[in-house]
């Protein structure tokens, strides 16, 4: 960016400034901390100048939006043509209750849907399973059969709104249900757009929703990606996620590095089927957190795009630019929210949302202010959505693409993040790749160590959280904001519904199809078509999961803390 002569002059002037003005100021008024560090503990200097970007080549590092290496953004027009999708996740109670919340959010101007499932659905237990007791419809919506999905989308057109489903070890079943739903309603599969999370690797490392051992779990992901690429051209069959890694306690760099490591493991896994990388890589999508350290996050998003582009081009030999461009959903940081002084969470979320947009996200969920206390209330979700609308419509930050590109700090931090991501990827390669590292608990241990270090730093007061270890107040007896309450009738309603579906279906046919499913699982054939048959016949999620437990076995987690 600067010629060497110019750089020399700048460096000399900088040194002179440090010796004179800066030294004199320091003498009169020392800085208020010994060092300033990011949320992840990296030191940040007081001033960044061209001297920090010594070998900075614009074309090599940045290029233009929509062009390799995509640092400035995956699309040439970014938000000027299409604002990010405002996608508030919702899910609680029965399908009917969540359907009503969806319609409320659409009426408030939300532009995409995102479904949160309850723990039994996420883990593959039906609502009438003893393990589901107390958890039916509590943290998300309960879905046992296609009948529930039909009710969830009643009066909503999956052909015209993109739908994201946050589900992992049972993702392929929900994808099968979504396909069956579209077919029943006469919606061509080419019209379906949206995403299914389906990222099993980060389940083993961070979020801990798993059923089967690692290898069959990866096979399920592979089958769903291959099916989707063939039949659902506008659908993202996997959303490689860093969010949960970070929430589990990782640093920003670990989040980015471990997510990209998972991404490349999927590319390798799908590649084994002989599918050309350019046939499926454009459909891979990502999901990152936007945490509280503004510049660290923006640098992370930019660096992740650059590293992914290089991986796809250089390591996998992708030819299409779409295969190299990283697109991501973003969510503000749940773990940054405090139960005390809950209104402060509105402000935290707004800053985090701005970082996500300045970092070039494609869709965004802003957390409700009440999420350290309960499932978000309707009012809290509306305010969170308004936060995004104000960001887009009033602040002007979305007018120009990558507006922080060229900032000495942001570019230096982006470069540093990129180097640190590569260093992790090299370590992972040296261990034999992502799956080998996973089986050695590498990710789990790294995340646990970072979580512990952060907690210690916070308790020493090195990391401040307003309202918690600074500016504390006497808390009122009860939270000063209205909270969502769980409908006590949900469990019974859902169990009754499930019993009715089971009575009304042809159970002999379901049994026959489940046997066929097991047969397919024993081969290398794709699991999706037979799963679609099963759900169409109203086989329950639990029945499908249990059938495959007989073939695949179960995962047993090694305990690391």
């Amino acid at each position: 960016m600067f010629d060497p002569k110019q750089l020399d002059a700048i460096r000399r002037a900088l040194q002179a400034w440090e010796r004179t003005e800066l030294a004199a100021f320091h003498a009169r008024r020392p800085e208020r901390r010994k060092s300033f560090t990011t949320l992840s503990g990296r030191e940040i200097k007081g001033l960044y100048t061209p001297a920090d970007l010594e070998r900075f080549d614009y074309a090599d590092k940045l290029g233009f939006p929509g062009q390799y290496p995509f640092t400035r953004g995956p699309y040439p027009t970014m938000y000027r043509a299409q604002p990010w999708t405002m996608r508030q996740i919702a899910g609680f109670g029965t399908a009917a209750a969540t359907n009503a919340r969806f319609k409320f959010l659409i009426a408030q101007g939300q532009t995409g849907l995102s479904v949160d499932f309850d723990m039994p659905t996420l883990m593959g237990y039906d609502s009438d399973d003893p393990r589901a007791l107390g958890e039916v419809g509590r943290e998300g919506v309960a879905v046992d059969t296609l009948a529930d999905l039909e009710e969830l989308f009643a009066g909503i057109d999956p052909g015209s709104i993109s739908v994201s489903m946050t589900i992992n070890p049972t993702a392929w079943i929900l994808l099968a249900m979504y396909v069956a739903l579209a077919e029943k309603r006469g919606i061509p599969l080419e019209q379906l757009s949206g995403t299914i999370q389906n990222d099993i690797i980060k389940e083993f490392t961070a979020q801990k929703e798993w059923i089967y051992p690692v290898k069959p779990s990866l096979r399920i992901v592979r089958d769903s990606i291959v099916y989707s690429v063939r039949h659902l051209p506008h659908y993202n069959p996997v959303n490689v996620s860093g969010y949960h890694i970070r929430e589990a306690g990782s640093t920003a760099v670990q989040e980015a590095a471990f997510t990209l490591a998972a991404g490349l493991a999927y590319v390798e896994e799908v590649g084994k089927t002989g599918l050309d990388v350019d046939a499926f890589a454009p459909r891979l999508s990502f999901y990152f957190i936007s945490h509280s350290d503004f510049f660290e996050e923006i640098a992370k998003f930019r660096a992740a795009r650059r590293v992914w582009a290089k991986i796809m081009k250089e390591r996998f030999g992708a030819k299409k630019p779409e295969s190299m461009r990283l697109r991501f959903h973003c969510q503000t940081a749940g773990s940054s929210l405090t139960a005390v002084q809950p209104l402060n969470n509105v402000i935290r979320t707004a800053y985090q949302a701005m970082a996500a947009v300045l970092g070039g996200c494609q869709s965004l969920h802003t957390n409700g202010m009440d999420e350290a206390l309960a499932i978000p209330s309707e009012g809290a979700m509306k305010l969170a959505l308004r936060t995004q609308q104000i960001l887009l419509e009033e602040t002007g930050v979305a007018h120009s693409i990558d507006p922080l590109g060229g900032s000495y700090l942001v570019e230096a931090l982006t470069d540093q993040t990129e180097r640190e991501i590569w260093a992790y990827l090299e370590r992972i390669d040296a261990m034999g790749g992502t799956v080998a590292a996973l089986e050695r608990n590498f990710f789990q241990q790294e995340i646990a160590d970072s979580a512990y270090s952060y907690q210690v730093a916070k308790e020493r007061g090195e990391k401040t959280v307003v309202g918690v270890n600074m500016f504390r107040e006497e808390e009122p007896e009860e939270p000063a904001i209205p909270l969502h309450s769980v409908d006590p009738r949900t469990e019974k309603t859902q169990k009754d519904r499930l019993a009715r579906v089971k009575r009304e279906r042809d159970s002999a046919r379901v049994r026959k199809l489940l046997d066929e499913l097991k047969e397919v699982a024993r081969t290398e054939e794709n699991l999706m078509p037979i799963t679609i048959e099963c759900v169409r016949a109203y086989a329950t999620e639990g029945e499908i999961v249990n059938a495959l437990k007989e073939i695949f076995g179960r995962y047993h987690e090694p305990i690391v803390f």
């Binding site: 723990m119 039994p120 996420l122 883990m123 237990y125 393990r131 589901a132 007791l133 107390g134 958890e135 509590r138 943290e139 389940e203 979020q207 801990k208 929703e209 929430e247 589990a248 306690g249 773990s335 405090t338 139960a339 005390v340 350290a372 206390l373 309960a374 499932i375 646990a448 979580a451 512990y452 907690q455 308790e459 959280v465 309202g467 918690v468 270890n469 808390e475 007896e477 009860e478 939270p479 909270l483 769980v486 987690e557 305990i559 690391v560 803390f561």
Partner: protein, 138 residues
């Protein structure tokens, strides 16, 4: 001099929820503080937790619950402990719960609870004080 038995603590994650960051950090802090810590791992049924607690002869069960099921799980654990004649085991816990719910749970017999913004050192201090008092009484 009789060597003092270390306080034994079972850190447990009941239910289907996988949010184990808090449980693991607390387990490590308690271990660093000199207690003997056993961590159950994920997806434990109340029956499994109580069986482990009795078998391992622990002094404390610490439950981490972020799934909203605390009003079901804590009473169930207390009930199972009573049924086994193991009500001497102190039940403590942490997670996402409202002040009102914490008061109700303590009235039922939960020894102490901490919300999501708590300091882990408060837990260490509480356990030390609780067992000092026990020893004086004992």
């Amino acid at each position: 001099m009789v060597s003092e038995r270390k306080v034994r603590i079972l850190v447990a994650k009941p239910g289907l929820d996988g949010h184990d960051r808090g449980a693991k950090v607390v387990a490590r802090v308690l271990r660093d503080a000199g207690f003997e810590v056993i961590y159950t791992g994920l997806h434990q049924a109340p029956e499994q937790i109580v069986a482990t607690a009795v078998q391992e002869d622990v002094d404390v069960i610490g439950l981490s619950i972020l799934s909203g099921t605390h009003m079901l799980v804590f009473p169930r654990i207390l009930e199972l402990l009573r049924a086994q004649g193991a009500e001497h085991i102190a039940v403590i816990g942490g997670g996402t719960m409202l002040p009102k719910e914490m008061r109700e749970l303590k009235a039922m017999g939960v020894a102490e609870l901490w919300g999501v913004d708590s300091s882990t050192q408060d837990i260490v201090t509480w356990i030390r004080q609780h067992f000092k008092a026990e020893q004086r009484r004992g």
